[in-house]
Symmetry: C2
Subunit: 279 residues, 2 copies
Amino acid sequence: MTISIVGIGLIGGSMAISLKENGFAKKIIGVDASQENLDKAIRRRLIDEKMSLENAIAASDIIIVSIPVNAMLQVLPEILDLVTTQVVMDVGSTKSELLKSIKNHPNRKQFVGTHPMAGTEHSGPEAAIPNLFDNKTTVICDANDSSNEAVELIEKLYNSLNMNVIQMKSYAHDIHTAYVSHISHISSFALALTVLEKEKDEKAILDLASSGFSSTVRLAKSSAEMWVPVFQQNRDNILDVLDEHINSLSKFRTHLIKKDFKKIHELIEQSNKIRRILS
Amino acid sequence: MTISIVGIGLIGGSMAISLKENGFAKKIIGVDASQENLDKAIRRRLIDEKMSLENAIAASDIIIVSIPVNAMLQVLPEILDLVTTQVVMDVGSTKSELLKSIKNHPNRKQFVGTHPMAGTEHSGPEAAIPNLFDNKTTVICDANDSSNEAVELIEKLYNSLNMNVIQMKSYAHDIHTAYVSHISHISSFALALTVLEKEKDEKAILDLASSGFSSTVRLAKSSAEMWVPVFQQNRDNILDVLDEHINSLSKFRTHLIKKDFKKIHELIEQSNKIRRILS
């Protein structure tokens, strides 16, 4: 099978590595707006060949679109205009707006909207790593709007990556990811800002930062190019969760001000229940 | 050398493992208010023997006190009352209140206040692990109030654990740890509360939680028994950082409400500067 990857960054590049390694793809074609990224991807042997979007589509069985979700809104319809029998999938972190925008495209059935729940705080082809998707979950959204054949093919692709595939409506996906992904990023960005703002002694941060701090702010290294469009497209859900999060922090603040440590004890024990869900 | 460890939990137990393994301690004596913990510690071979506090002190060269910081305020003076030539150290996450409370104790010079910046979200003797301290930093506070011999001995102990030792005033320690440790815990507790509060669909959390979410809420599994006393003793510093953190989150909120994504882009790029400090 020949697979084109449009956008050879962390996700696209990591898929390129694994799909070639497991034999699902015979050939990987790279398409990227950045010539520099394409050259890096060739030097790292992430892709076999670079091509223009048109030529890549014509030469492929599957087209994976892994670009920021704002660029996706423009590029995906252009791709769907060009496909004949190919199957197209995206890997974006938001789904509702994208799927609404192509709802009436004549080739809608050849597209499968997906979101593999995997990533790191790094970006670009240099961030691509093997086994990024191993044992993670991927979501297929609004599968009813795709042809059965297209969904089956993409499920096969994800199974070859050793991923667990679940299906979900796009609006439900966007609500759930606001909770379990987008708010974590905002929390990390804000925590990094807080510490950078208040702690002028950078050497102290470097010396004292424990593994706890590092894991809490790790996501603050994530790229604005990727995340701002996600926050833009999922704004309403994120605002809802963000309000609740500020509210949770304010409870700690109020109890601290009142020196009501019994209440803080209760809050912590409540939050410990996350153990039940995340081992 | 014979070392007594008062409080055989995550930190005390992990020290027991490493100090025995590296040969610094010939014998490890365990003291704990919980008979169950002592029995577990013996079954796990974390300690060679259990003793009463009095007998343990009499039999030891070094006494390591690794109990919650509220219990420390009561137990440490009792220990110092009993020492003759022994050196005592603590490993607590807050320092000012403790060191103030024993400032005038006749045996103050035999005590070294320390804080190894290492830990996990787990607690109890079952959480003790090898190499917990490897390549981490430990802080010795107000070293001038300890005898040179005591500080040198404790530095040797930490060096045997492969730790980097730095010295700091206790008030500075408490400010810095509010930034790089305590706020991370409050942020994680609050994030877990937020998600548990809003996301009633626990299966969705389980399915969708990415590694990003897991690393951001990992600390929310931490024990209330340990952390409430830390928040109590470092309340003023934590309130200051917490206010700033709520303020940072509110900036994201305001820009989201106004759909000012250019400003959000700027905030993220500012927060990315944490890369400069944390690799």
